[in-house]
Symmetry: C2
């Protein structure tokens, strides 16, 4: 080798090194972000949160390697508004994911829904683009299924999954089955190309969603692009499902099989981050969209020690399992009692990416990085909404209920019970009870199950009320509700002919438009 060629080789070597260092440097300032959002999984469904069967070794290990947040909340006890809050950093009542058709009702995006996430909202992947993030959603979208509302129109670069829930219809006759999309085109429908065998609760969907996640992570790592992965599988939503290797494996029945497969998948995803050497540069957050659906009986999960479940603003409806993981940044085995919620994930993700949040609107999310990285604590309220009504507020260990109801007597008498086996007189009411003048106040530390309202005659009650009243009044005074997106329904907007249906020969003919005000019973 000549002196010249040695020099050339060294220069080339230096260029490679410098390129690599600069890439690593750039990557380090734009850590990858993975949000894992489960469907109807409850606070009590993980071993680390007290599930007796202890069947979630990977999630328990994730907690041991990261931070547990026992006071983490969703923004609404139902799927669509919760997901809208996550991706906008704003309460559903602000971002429009609520209804004014009736008072204090949970609304969502069934196939008949006309609306979807407003174009005025700025979604997390849209923000992350500013720093060159590539974003993918895997699984359930649920922010509107009409073409203008779909993920690729709203900042996501890739999507594999479905726009609506996988419960009915189960055939294509009167209503179209829910389509499954690969990016902007449908590639099949549930119960057709993408089987969910209801008899045996078998489906490969979680395996497909896992593979989609692993492929995306690998591709972005190779391309050295910062990425945002929004992993939203729905196997724990009734009708629950698991793939063959997980069927019958759980001590908990079908629901447990689904949990075990999700736990396994989380383990696989974290392992891939480690084996790719990007674990120190990837922030991962695991949580669920709302409390376990106790209404689904043995196909529903567990809310541990909390009252009631999905659809309600009791703790069982809104407190979520939550684990933050970021080796080298978040202290392993830590616990934070910070009151936090799904909207914080928006603000926190932006902080991690080094992007300033939008300054032209009210954001309800808090930047949790001081909590995650330094275990600091900030006093802040949690607002419990049901549709257009502020039902309850938590501050510190106290929670005040301004309105209570589980569901109407009419619904309850048909067998729909959001609090099965649980009944707290005057609390789990079937009439909408207005307690505004004298809220029901609980101390969630000594009474996590919301069973013992603090007597209004005590000094404690009066002191708490004095602290709460100005906070609630200020919140309500400042609140400017968004245009409600979940008021109108129309059979014509259903998934009759999603883009891509022609290639598959799966287009159906929509009926004539005939919109009506959606009926939201709960």
């Amino acid at each position: 080798m000549t002196e010249h060629s040695v020099f050339t080789t060294l220069s080339l070597f230096c260029v490679i090194i410098c390129f690599y260092v600069s890439k690593t440097g750039s990557a380090a300032s734009s850590p990858n972000i993975i949000i894992m959002l489960m469907d109807d999984m409850g606070w009590g469904d993980l071993g680390v949160w007290g599930q007796p069967s202890k069947e979630t070794p990977h999630l328990d290990a994730m907690a041991a390697q990261g931070m547990l947040l026992p006071n983490f909340y969703t923004a609404n006890p139902l799927c669509s508004p919760s997901r809208a809050a996550l991706l906008t950093g704003r309460l559903p009542v602000r971002n429009g994911f609520y209804t004014t058709n009736a008072h204090a009702r949970n609304a969502y995006t069934p196939q008949e829904i006309v609306g979807g996430i407003s174009k005025d909202e700025i979604l997390l992947p849209e923000m992350l683009k500013k720093k060159g993030y590539v974003s993918k959603i895997v699984g359930k979208w649920h922010l509107g299924h009409r073409p203008q509302y779909l993920p690729l129109k709203r900042g996501f670069d890739e999507w594999f999954g479905s726009p609506n829930c996988h419960f009915g219809p189960y055939n294509d006759t009167k209503e179209p089955n829910i389509p499954v999309y690969n990016n902007s085109e449908m590639v099949g429908r549930y119960y057709e190309e993408f089987q969910i065998l209801r008899e045996t609760a078998e489906s490969n969907l979680t395996q497909i969603y896992l593979q989609e996640a692993l492929d995306f992570i690998l591709r972005q790592t190779r391309a050295q692009k910062p990425f945002f992965l929004y992993w939203a599988p729905d196997a724990t939503h009734a009708p629950v499902y698991a793939s063959k290797p997980f069927r019958g494996k759980s001590q908990r029945g079908r629901y447990g099989d689904a949990v075990m497969e999700l736990d396994y998948s989380v383990g696989r995803i974290l392992a891939s981050l480690k084996s790719l050497g990007i674990d120190n540069n990837t922030f991962v957050f695991f949580t669920s969209d709302n409390g376990a659906a106790l209404v689904s009986g043995t196909e529903g999960g567990s809310n541990g020690p909390f009252l009631c479940g999905k659809e309600t603003t009791f703790e069982g409806g809104m407190r979520e399992p939550a684990i933050a993981w970021w080796p080298g940044h978040i202290k392993e085995g830590s616990v934070s009692f910070q009151l936090s919620n799904v909207m914080d994930l928006y603000t926190t993700s932006l902080a991690i990416a080094g992007i300033s949040p939008p300054d032209d609107r009210v954001l309800d999310g808090l930047d949790l990085t001081p909590v995650l990285l330094n275990n600091s604590l900030k006093n802040r309220p949690i607002f419990y909404y049901r549709g257009n009504e502020l039902m309850a507020v938590r501050l510190g260990q106290y929670k005040a209920h301004y309105w209570t109801w589980s569901n109407s007597w009419e619904q309850f008498k048909t067998g729909i019970n959001f609090c099965p086996g649980q009944e707290v007189p005057g609390v789990t009411t079937h009439d909408q009870m207005n307690h505004t003048l004298q809220p029901l106040i609980f101390h969630l530390g000594r009474d996590p199950g919301e069973k013992y309202p603090i007597s209004v005659l005590t000094k404690e009650y009066q002191d708490v009320l004095k602290t709460f009243t100005p906070i609630v009044q200020q919140h309500q005074k400042d609140l400017i509700p968004g245009v409600p997106q979940l008021n109108m329904c129309d059979r014509a907007v259903m998934n009759w002919a999603p883009e891509g249906c022609e290639k598959l020969g799966k287009c159906l003919k929509p009926p004539e438009s005939s919109p009506w005000k959606c009926f939201w019973p709960h």
Copy 2:
């Protein structure tokens, strides 16, 4: 030094070494045994079992270093029979700790009780004497307070604690306050020499009980004697208490303060075993005497996802937190789903000590050493008794209720509620319901909260019933009930003048004897 003196020194050295080795060898074949039995602590009270406040770092660490047993049960949902079962290895209905005054009633040992643990029973410390164990009980005895029933008459070499519960009376006027014993003599009484300030829930008792444990462990280690320590503090029984440094520390209120002090104490005890170098030679088991007393409201604990609490044969009344710890022997971080119970601690302790169990009687305990040391599993039933009635049986994941009731309407209407906030129609009944011909069957894996009885019309129900029926029939056919010890009450037997009262000037004059059949309402 002459050659001779070197030889002498070496010989002496050898003698010391050999003596030490032989002693260590002997100790290794007689490992120390510590049973930590909490009072009214529930399955859901520890961080590791899902308590939201995560305030038990030492117990959580104990679990991480040992084995968690999520299917561990007591023998009875009330204190005295549960403790009698632990120390005899036999169901209360066999060892006599039950009543026949009424059907299916929980009985215990208040001050008026005439009976106590029968002299025909062979208690664990009596058995352990065969291998030279020195035994101490610290805390609550509860197997009879009349002189012939006290711990030092029943195999224990030392005792510091009290014979009865520390709830009322709170002064010495109409009834004597409960005495506190140091060995065979009382050294004071609750609410007098041993203060429990009810207003502030302050008492130093847990600190005293901790010190008694640490002193005993140190003394026995120095004396190189194998020991059995039965550590039974009662701070989590209402009225709950904690010492000043723990008061107000918990997010859970007074009950949580008590838990935190017990957790701290467990940590101190395990640390002392480590610093004395005997951790590898000491088997430690942590559990509780019955489910959390939901009837005590915010002074009661949590039963996590389980139904009802203390006094009932639902899971909340009888499933207990349980951690086994024995470094170098029990695999760290392990979980065993073995169905096990407090009577197994008798049999297991004997197995660990290398002592054959009594062969002249039926023992209900199983030797758990294969479970603890090799994580093997054995199929066996769990029997749920309430007084003289077999209320329910568990086998595998199934539980069959042959009788149900929580408490009578009469009691319930006075505000005594063992299932507050929980009501499962036909299950948490207020009449004693006989389901013998068609038991209520639950699958505790998919329904740990006992909310969804399996339909009698299913094959599953019929299959389960076929398995259960012969087991139950055999059990009932073979059962020879012991002489009931908890039938008679008499004010004359109360703690008026316990041994040692003269020295203290604390003797009270008993009334004339006037026995009656005790009334057990629950």
